[in-house]
Amino acid sequence: MATQTAEAQPDTQVQDSMVVRFAGDSGDGMQLTGGQFTLSTALAGNDLATFPDFPAEIRAPQGTLFGVSAFQINFGSRQINTAGDAPDVLVAMNPAALKVNLASLKPGGLIIADSGAFTKRNLEKAHYEENPLEDGSLAKFDLLAFDISERTIEAVKPFGLGNKDALRSKNMWTLGLALWMFDRPREPLHDWLKAKFKSKPEIAEANIAALDAGHAYGETAELSGPLKQVHMPPRPVEPGLYRTITGAESVSLGLVAGAQLAELPMFFGGYPITPASAILHHLARLKEFDVTTFQAEDEIAAICAAIGASYAGQLGVTSSSGPGIALKTEAMGLGIMVELPLVIVNSQRGGPSTGLPTKTEQSDLYQAVYGRNGDAPMPVIAARSPADAFDVAIEACRIATQYMTPVMLLTDGYIANAAEPWKVPDPSAYEPFPATFLEELPEGEEFLPYKRDEKGARPWVKPGTPGLMHRVGGIEKHETTGNIDYSPANHQRMTELRRDKVANIVVPDQEVSWGEDTGDLVVVGWGSTYGPIKQAVNRWIEKGAKVSHVHVRHIWPLPQNLGKLLSGFKHVLMPEMNTGQFKTLLRDQFLIDAESLTKTSGQPFQIAELEEAIGRCLNEKCGGKIGTNDDQLPNPVGVEK
């Protein structure tokens, strides 16, 4: 088994990280297996990153190629930033799972296959003419094929389940085997199963039996073959309380924390859309933290209700994905005009239009920064990883409430679904930023709803406040009174005030994420490309190249020192999962010759791809695009043509 070394060559000696991919039919419970394996990995003290990759269909017919559901985890005793390029181990619960995922497996990687599921019918559904487990076509891999189905049925026999029900425990059997492979305790899983099936103890017992049987199978002597136990030492990390967290959870918690730091109740207006719905779901369970969730009739109503709530004195938040964000455009303009706090979360997915709802992309940056009628500036910030999303969400709340402005928070389908271990932060480490409402005027002062403070923010007055009745709206308004005012000088002035308020938002100076402050090449990223860029840059630094990584959180306004920082490098390479959107910003703002490296396949960058592109760049052939083909992970070849 291999590590993620710079050369990405298989090397069975070094065990500092591994990539495992569980793949099966949507009905096989692979996401559950993956999730529980993740938890066990976290408990073992390894660093990790995951990539759940589910089908676009709700429940595709069993055994089909487009019904394959996979879960990939990269874990190790060193820092892990990506879910890994190519798996070392592929667990394939049926022929379709094998077919779709095989191309991504590392040469010499291990395949664990449930031969019991390689029936004639399943092979046909996967468009296999021969059984790949038998025709020698897998020769360049290590293959471990045996009848998991049968073994599971046997294991749960004592509990009197029918075959169909019994097979439901296949995933637990597999998980048991995986636990053995990585020398993990079973007790947490036992406890979890008992809790999960509290009302159906026999199901709990059957699953426990399957888990134990899989584990025991690993230990039996017959396995002199490719299966070896791996001891992965824990990654030394700061002491503290830890948990795993997905991006969607992290955004949700960050928003709640942000509202609490602003000392405001939070109002969340949402409308279901993949992959943004998870935030609505999480927040709907957090009502006790002074959160109101409102599933509106559409995205427009969701943002309008959120603005209404902000108007009434709560922290309005709304969230969606590309097409839904598009619908919110007009209302965002109103938010900018009435200058009320609002956080808009965009969990980006593949576009345009309905696009690829379950795939990831970074192609809504243009929309976030530029996509409104009129001169309508709005701060935009981006999360780079699941854990980072927590801080970014708090930052969004801070900017929104301190500057009285809508703020766009960009995340994406990859971050939303991926998990990583997270050191539970100490809430008291965050500086509160209590929102202030204007409740009374200093004696003799006139009430001016658009008079600004030193940050450029206008006062926030809650309806219900005596003596401060006023009217707001989307028509241009007078600089101080806020009354309708179309006069030329006033519009000129207001356009500038709105621009400057946003332009002057205090944003921390940009730091170099990895590498030196000057050099031959700086790789500039934003959002979820953080992990692969960091690893790829690191590989070149280790090879002695003068490469650095700059990862930008504040997309608009940009950090003040950014232009200067970038000018310290000979080349600027900008990998993006779009056709080069952030590149436009930097070229416009700093007139630097930033070169795009684009990938628009709906899949995250692989470290190796970036490594190669950096190499090219160091040889003066910067930019280009990743020549994606269907050999990449995951690979639903032949599907839906």
Binding site: A42, L43, A44, G45, P188, P234, P236, V237, E238, P239, G240, L241, Y242, R243, T244, L253, V256, A257, F267, G269, L286, K287, E288, F289, D290, V291, T292, F294, A296, E297, D298, I300, A301, A302, C304, A305, A306, G308, A309, S310, Y311, A312, G313, G316, L334, V338, V424, P427, P463, G464, T465, G467, M469, R471, V472, G473, G474, I475, N483, I484
Partner: protein, 348 residues
């Protein structure tokens, strides 16, 4: 509105310092005055009152009310108002919209605010035209209406605002006329109703759709053409002076109303129907009554309260919070965690 907070105000207290910008003679002026006259009677408190509107001539309303006001975007006022009510249910929310704002671009939000039954008063100023954009036909314009966008006459079947409201699940449906002295009564009933109260107000756009309601709204003949409804009262209209007292009688065979003459005030003898504002079927029949053959039903057509949305949302939030530790620390540490001390890690 919080009953406790009733205060004394006069019409003047509800006027702002902004010059009113409607065309001279526009029906909006009369509605503005009617509202400014009604609010003191309700004991409404300017600081707890919020006027929310979309875009249109009618939607300029908030600028002229000395209360809190939000002039939002075209068609979306119900969504803003919903957010406001959920964030602060103590506020007394009045929504002002037009036939274009509320039924063309905003029909969906209108439906959902009615369905959810968010407690507010919704005044739809129906002038059967797009006033602000200079006179295009609207979804309530009658067939063959000639406007800049329909120079040869419109061909759509018009929408019926009250029928739409009922179909959307409204629990209060009322109707008034801009200049009618009864308008404050309808507003008062709407305000008393807990839940979304839908009020269609016929409003004269004297510039683009002048006197289009004259067939029933002009004072001359009004008695014969207007049927003012009152719960528990017979459905009578007309007077001896104007051509006789008449009433509506239900033909149970045909499932339809018919007009009957009432002699000597004996409406029972004539079989005149007594209005029951809680009867949905009566409401359906009344709002779909073909005008011409019948008078125009006005007043409180339907009023049958149901629990409000914001009350249910808040109750649920309270249930969810009861006795819970709501510290941020607990929030963050939810789910399965483990502690790392030195380099070892133990599940907790």
């Amino acid at each position: 509105m919080n009953e406790m907070s009733k205060i004394e105000t006069t019409l003047k207290d509800w006027e702002t310092d902004q010059e009113v910008r409607w065309c001279p003679g526009c029906g909006d002026y009369a509605i503005l005055k009617a509202v400014q006259r009604t609010l003191p009677q309700l004991g409404a408190d300017p600081k707890n009152t919020v006027f929310v509107s979309g875009i249109g001539c009618s939607s300029r309303f908030p600028y002229y009310m000395e209360s809190y006001g939000f002039h939002t975007i075209h068609g979306r006022a119900p969504a803003f108002a919903t957010g406001i009510k959920l964030a602060n249910p103590d506020l007394d929310v009045w929504l002002v919209t037009g036939d274009g704002d509320g039924l063309s671009i905003g029909g969906n939000h209108m439906m959902h605010v009615l369905r959810r039954n968010v407690n507010m008063q919704i005044m739809l100023f129906n002038n059967e035209i797009y006033g602000l954009t200079k006179g295009q036909y609207s979804p309530t314009s009658r067939e063959h209406t000639r406007t800049p966008s329909t120079p040869l006459g419109s061909v759509d079947h018009p929408a019926n605002p009250c029928a739409f409201a009922l179909g959307s699940g409204a629990r209060f449906v009322g109707r008034g006329i801009d200049v009618s002295k009864n308008l404050p009564d309808v507003l008062t009933a709407a305000h008393a109703h807990q839940g979304a109260a839908f009020i269609e107000i016929f409003q004269n756009c004297i510039v683009y759709n002048k006197d289009v309601f004259d067939d029933f709204a002009k004072p001359k003949g009004a008695e014969q053409q207007q049927l003012w409804l009152s719960h528990g009262e017979p459905m009578l209209f007309g007077s001896e002076k104007t051509g006789g007292v008449k009433g509506l009688k239900l033909n149970t065979q045909a499932f339809a109303f018919e007009v009957v003459d009432v002699a000597d005030g004996d409406w029972q003898a004539a079989g005149v129907q007594v209005h029951d504002a809680t009867n949905r079927m009566l409401a359906h029949m009344l709002v779909e009554l073909p005008f011409g053959e019948f008078p125009m039903p006005l007043g409180v057509i339907y009023d049958d309260p149901a629990p409000t949305y914001e009350a249910a949302v808040i109750a649920e939030k309270e249930r969810a919070s009861a006795g819970k530790d709501t510290s941020i620390a607990r929030l963050l540490a939810k789910g399965q965690t483990w502690t790392v001390s030195g380099t070892a890690s133990d599940p907790v």
